[in-house]
Point group: C2
Chain length 138, copies 2
DNA sequence: CATTTCAATTGCAAAACGCAAGCAAATAAG
DNA sequence: CTTATTTGCTTGCGTTTTGCAATTGAAATG
């Protein structure tokens, strides 16, 4: 009884709980579109994420099923973060957000070719970006 | 000189600055999809936003050009918040986020007919939702 | 003119954040 | 074999943001 808080949740509400903070989408962007996979690489985003925040976000993202934490066999110090299909399926969301930002913020710059392809053949672009991310992590 | 911080910003980064927090998208959802327009209506969202947070978010949203604060002529106490085109153009983002949440969270419920239409004729649905929101605020 | 409604503001404790320093395990260098 | 370096974090601590409750002021209502 009384699991009313868990039922009939609004989709926006769930999404906000998963990536509705200042940093999770930045990390996802770097993993999905910039091809980063290691902790040290994620530390170098120009937005300047703090090391403790990055660590806590990666833990939460793993708990939320967005990434899988794995060790490199040939160097056991190194960790890499693999994207799940749940995370890769956020590519359309990232692209829609990008489309909006490019329109309404004059300072925003996205690769023009990317945005042009998104207008012309969005489905193919999404598939290509997801496939590229999948290949990178094998 | 030295406005390098403002130039060539990443689109994800800009979007996060505008609506990358726990509450702004909730407020936008209520204004855009639930037809709310008054402060007291926005207070009743089931997520339970605190009154000081709502006030600060509405101020920031006005500063960011998402809403316009207006007084009701027939009752000067009352305020209503009108959505700008910049805000209405986030309808596709909200729908993409909803599509994702419905797939990956078993507890999430969205109007099934809405999601079905989004699959079948996304452009028409977007236009209809934006038009409905525009009509409401006149 | 007293009460209620509306849209907030204020005060305060708790949580989250940002920065710098520190740390253990593994590898590389001497 | 010993020391240094790299990697992926954790810890401490001061600052900022949040959440909650109480309060306010202007305007409408009884």
């Amino acid at each position: 009884m009384s699991n009313s808080k868990l039922e009939n949740r609004c989709p926006i509400d769930y999404a906000l709980k998963v990536f509705g903070d200042r940093w999770t989408l930045i990390v996802l962007r770097d993993l999905m579109l910039s091809g980063k996979r290691h902790y040290r690489e994620l530390m170098t985003s120009k937005e300047g994420i703090a090391t403790n925040i990055l660590a806590s976000r990666l833990k939460k993202m793993e708990a939320d099923g967005l990434v899988i934490r794995k060790h490199k066999p040939e160097d056991k110090r190194q960790v890499f973060y693999e994207l799940t299909e749940k995370a890769l399926d956020l590519v359309p969301v990232l692209l829609e957000i990008s489309r909006w930002s490019v329109i309404y913020d004059q300072h925003t710059a996205a690769p023009p070719e990317l945005m042009r392809r998104y207008q012309v053949e969005p489905q193919q672009l999404i598939a290509d970006l997801q496939e590229a991310a999948r290949i990178r992590q094998t």
